[in-house]
């Protein structure tokens, strides 16, 4: 598949002013302001192929949204080059922007007083979508997300989940090659999140749409992204497949053990008890010190075990580890 995004050595600095609390400082700031320079991006480089679903992760203030804004053509970098779909985003904005879709999880995008359907109609004109293709795609997506009826209600009457789904459709109606999702699952319940993820996978399969997702939700990462880019302090800290991360950093396994008797403490090499309730124990096993087979054997032999579940530790933990390791 062709590469559609080339980012080389992207840098961005911001200037902000800080104000302290209290009436005295408020008056003081009327006459004198202190400015701080913030280095948001310190040289970010990556390439993305068509049809990929890439997750962007990083702590707040790491440079995620700055990168996304630059990719969306809404930010001039301080230095560096960027080529997306053959355009330099911030230079050819109006032409470039026809090929992308953006969903901001926390910001309003649809006209508040009117039904989403009206906004869709407007976009049909602005993005030059042929009528029949528009109808086909709208029906398809509304069906997938189960919002066929509610798109006729004013946006202000929609629940958070419904609103999010409508925004998603809004971004995809014109069949963009590249879609940015910024915190798409914020505030959604489990069912809605799942629906949304299925939807993204469907669309990606059917239309080869490239997705870039910034998120704090590890469920999004695990279910959607094969590749993740981790940003911290304005630099890329990891860029690669999730599988590779798991292999490299997966030195532990988590065991959830259910007993038929009251759980008793025990000592086994490489085994740490994470939490316990009456009949359950959660254990962390260091696979370098003890292999899983031996551990399970030990437990079954010495206790009346009803069930054992073996899992990888949540990817959250792994990523925390990576953040810590790369603290500048």
């Amino acid at each position: 598949m062709a590469e559609i995004i080339h980012v080389k050595d992207l840098k961005k600095t911001f200037r902000t002013h800080a104000r302290k609390e209290g009436l005295f400082n408020a008056v003081k700031s009327l006459f004198h302001r202190e400015y701080q320079t913030k280095y948001a991006l310190n040289g970010v480089s990556f390439d993305i192929k068509e049809g990929e679903i890439v997750g962007f992760i990083g702590p707040n203030g790491a440079g995620k949204s700055t990168t996304i804004k630059a990719l969306a053509g809404v930010l001039y970098p301080s230095s560096g080059t960027m080529n997306v779909l053959g355009y330099t985003p911030w230079k050819d904005r109006i032409k470039y922007v026809k090929n992308i879709g953006v969903v901001f999880g926390q910001k309003p995008q649809l006209t508040w007083d009117l039904p989403p359907l009206d906004t869709y109609g407007l976009n049909r004109v602005i993005y030059d979508i042929p009528r029949d293709e528009f109808k086909k795609r709208l029906d398809y997506m509304a069906e997938l997300l189960d919002v066929k009826e509610i798109i006729k209600n004013p946006t202000r009457d929609l629940s958070l989940g419904e609103h999010m789904k409508c925004k998603l459709i809004n971004a995809l109606l014109h069949n963009p090659k590249l879609v940015f999702l910024d915190e798409p699952s914020i505030g959604l319940d489990v069912v809605a999140k799942d629906r949304m993820r299925q939807f993204i996978l469907e669309v990606n399969k059917k239309y080869k749409t490239t997705f870039i997702i910034t998120t704090h939700d590890m469920g999004d990462i695990e279910k959607l992204c094969k590749r993740i880019i981790i940003i911290n302090h304005g630099l890329i800290v990891y860029d690669g497949l999730i599988e590779k991360i798991k292999q490299k950093y997966l030195t532990h396994k988590h065991l959830a053990v259910k007993f038929n008797e009251k759980a008793r403490k025990f000592k086994l090499k490489g085994c740490k008890i994470l939490s316990e309730t009456d009949c359950e124990l959660k254990l962390e096993l260091d696979t370098h010190l003890q292999n899983i087979k031996n551990a399970i054997n030990y437990l079954i032999t010495n206790f009346d075990v009803e069930d054992i579940v073996v899992e990888d530790p949540p990817i959250e933990e792994i990523i925390q580890k990576i953040y810590k390791e790369n603290k500048v």
Binding site: R19, G22, L23, A26, V27, S29, L30
Partner: protein, 265 residues
């Protein structure tokens, strides 16, 4: 005594908070005060234009009319700072469903509302009004230490009271009827009539603005009394309607509060 000092402390704190929050948006605060002054001094400029090209408004010389305008600015300025800000707050919080917080605190609802909604740029308007009044009085050779000035202050205070009363009335309407913004809109259009001396209007209008909706106390009667003095009859007939209005508005407010809390918010 304890309650009084408590109320005073809350009042000062809320003014302090209001000023602090505004100064955070430093440029906007300065500009808002400037905006208020631009608006308030346009009136006197128009007065100068009228008096330089015509013989002016019957019964009022230039400085007398400026005195009149300063009084309107002062009284409406008070209204904008303390009274109407409450009404906007009520409409806003009822719409957002946040009004309940005013009912929950162990403080009189109206007073709490009052302290929370002080509009700081209104002080610039009050200041402008005073400045114009003082200027006009100086030009007219009127003394601050005269009996007429005392009466003037009494009338101005009743003007303040009327502003409070009418704004509370409209606030009550926000609970008892829908779309009270329309009512507010209508009232403001009517109050514009008080920006010119009541003697220019027909008898019916003058009657209406003296006894039915006593806007006369905002400007016409204080200014007239300062310039010409007053009989007890005049005083009574202008101030009494204000008292009636205050009573009606408090009654209506209590009714609205009862309805609101009994309806489950």
């Amino acid at each position: 005594m304890n309650l009084l000092s408590k109320l005073v402390r809350i009042e000062l704190k809320s003014i302090g908070l209001e000023l602090s929050a505004d100064m955070a948006y430093k440029t906007n605060f300065f500009i808002k005060c400037l905006a208020v002054w631009t608006y308030d001094f346009v009136g006197p400029i128009v007065a100068l234009l009228i008096y330089s090209t015509t013989l002016g408004i019957p019964g009022w010389g230039l400085y007398e009319f400026l005195l009149f305008q300063g009084t309107v600015t002062l009284v409406f300025g008070f209204g904008n700072t303390f009274a109407w800000s409450m009404t906007y707050k009520v409409i806003e919080t009822v719409r957002d469903g946040e009004f309940d917080k005013y009912l929950v605190k162990p403080l009189n609802t109206l007073f709490y509302l009052f302290t929370e909604s002080i509009n700081s740029e209104g002080f610039a308007e009050i200041f402008a009004g005073c400045a114009i009044v003082v200027f006009a009085m100086a030009k007219l050779g009127l003394s601050l230490f005269s009996f007429n000035f005392l009466l003037y202050l009494v009338l101005v205070l009743s003007g303040f009271a009327f502003e409070m009363a009418i704004s509370i009335l409209v606030s009550s309407a926000a609970f008892l009827v829908v779309k009270s913004e329309a009512l507010m809109n209508l009232y403001f259009k009517i109050s514009d009539f008080a920006r010119y001396p009541l003697n220019v209007y027909s008898g019916g209008v003058k009657f209406f603005l003296t006894f039915i909706i006593p806007l006369g106390v905002s400007s016409f009667y204080p200014a007239t009394i300062l310039l010409k003095g007053a009989t007890p009859v005049l005083l009574l007939s202008t101030i009494l309607p204000v008292f009636v209005f205050c009573a009606v508005s408090i009654l209506l407010w209590n009714r609205a509060m009862k309805k609101y809390s009994s309806a489950g918010g």
